[in-house]
């Protein structure tokens, strides 16, 4: 949880610098379309006693003048399937500021973390920062749809998903969704821990927040499943 708060604070500090960008960049200085794609990565530890570590960082841009900023950091897969294997995945995607009736769309969800091997360990950390739209803009943030599964005997699966987006200034629209997550511990004496933090909001206009439809289940003998889903909006 401390890791989540740290990444959240660091990302919020980056967002707080966003209004300074036009002054640094000039009046009409940058383009109207910014696409930042850092997701869709796969990390697999398949062999026995194997270790797989993956870190992906994508830092993209801003869009001015009827701009459209698309940030995609989700859709990652982390799998530890070997005996006593260890898979660690860290994905950070930063992008997405749209000025002037802009649209800022941020997608950080749709991640999958699985520890299926005997005594395996899978850790996944996904941070996506995007989505600030000025001037009757529309900011859409989706950080949910994540799946965390510990199916191996004595396996351990830990998933942390942080999605920051959705500031729409000046009669804008802000849509935030952090739900539809699944956390399951099906192996004997397995552990599954899932933490999902989705932060959006901050608009004077219309706002829609959805954080529901989450599932948490410990079905294995002696298994343990803990789930924490936080969806923040409405500042």
């Amino acid at each position: 949880m401390r890791n989540i708060l740290f990444t959240g604070i660091a990302a919020l500090s980056l967002l707080s610098l966003a209004p300074l960008a036009p002054a640094m960049a000039g009046s009409i200085d940058t383009g109207g379309l910014s696409v930042t794609h850092g997701g869709g990565n796969a990390n697999t530890a398949r062999g026995s006693f194997s270790t797989a570590g993956q870190g992906t960082t994508t830092i993209g841009g801003a869009a001015y003048g009827h701009g459209r900023a698309l940030t995609y950091g989700g859709g990652n897969q982390n799998l530890a399937s070997g005996y006593l294997s260890n898979a660690q995945q860290d994905t950070t995607t930063i992008g997405g500021t749209a000025f002037g009736r802009g649209r800022a769309t941020t997608f950080g969800g749709g991640n999958r973390n699985v520890a299926s091997g005997y005594l395996s360990n899978a850790q996944q950390d996904t941070t996506t920062v995007g989505g600030t739209a000025f001037g009757r803009g529309r900011a859409t943030t989706f950080g949910g749809g994540n799946r965390n599964l510990a199916s191996g005997y004595l396996s351990d699966a830990q998933q942390s998903v942080t999605t920051l987006g959705g500031q729409a200034y000046g009669r804008g629209q802000s849509l935030v969704s952090g739900g539809y997550n699944s956390n399951r511990a099906t192996g004997h004496f397995s552990q599954a821990d899932q933490q999902v933090l989705t932060v959006g909001g901050a608009t004077h206009g219309r706002e829609l927040v959805s954080g529901g439809r989450n599932r948490n289940a410990a079905t294995g003998f002696g298994s343990s499943a803990s789930q924490s889903v936080t969806t923040l909006s409405g500042q």
């Binding site: 960008a21 640094m24 009409i28 200085d29 940058t30 383009g31 109207g32 379309l33 910014s34 696409v35 930042t36 794609h37 850092g38 869709g40 990565n41 796969a42 990390n43 697999t44 530890a45 398949r46 062999g47 026995s48 006693f49 194997s50 270790t51 797989a52 570590g53 993956q54 870190g55 992906t56 960082t57 994508t58 830092i59 993209g60 841009g61 003048g65 009827h66 070997g82 294997s85 898979a87 995945q89 992008g95």
Partner: protein, 143 residues
């Protein structure tokens, strides 16, 4: 109605569609004046479009083998193209028993005046017993 009176308008329509598509395709010009102003900001000698693709494949397939790959791509500074595209993709495979595969890919590029696209994709696999695979990808667009 004769056949020719039907065929010629249809052929004329098919001939007109590509021209129409060329006029309406691409980026929407909601502010043509601002768009032209941005295009005029293109410095002489700078490219209209700049695409950077960095792809690495790193594989350690022998028993107790080691494979290390470092890739760095940097675009020349000072020039901002109209459209900037930067792609980073890597595959890192530790296949042999006791093998070690390390991959690092870094790419730095300018932001486009009109549009910027950054795309990163990684595949990391430790398949051999006691194998290790470490992958680091960094795709950064200048602010």
């Amino acid at each position: 109605m004769s056949l020719s009176s039907f065929v010629f308008p249809v052929l004329a329509l098919f001939a007109a569609l590509p021209a129409l598509a060329q006029e309406t395709g691409g980026m929407s010009l909601r502010g043509p004046a601002a768009m032209l102003e941005r295009i005029e900001q293109l410095q002489p000698g700078c490219r209209l479009s700049q695409t950077s693709v960095t792809i690495g494949v790193n594989r350690a397939s022998g028993a107790h083998s080691q494979a290390r790959q470092d890739l760095l791509t940097m675009a020349p500074g000072g020039c901002r193209p109209l459209v900037s595209t930067q792609v980073v993709a890597g595959a890192n495979l530790g296949l042999g028993p006791g093998s070690n595969a390390e991959q690092s890919i870094q790419a730095y590029g300018p932001r486009g005046l009109l549009a910027t696209t950054a795309y990163t994709r990684g595949y990391n696999l430790a398949a051999g017993p006691r194998s290790t695979a470490q992958q680091r990808l960094l795709n950064q667009i200048g602010r």
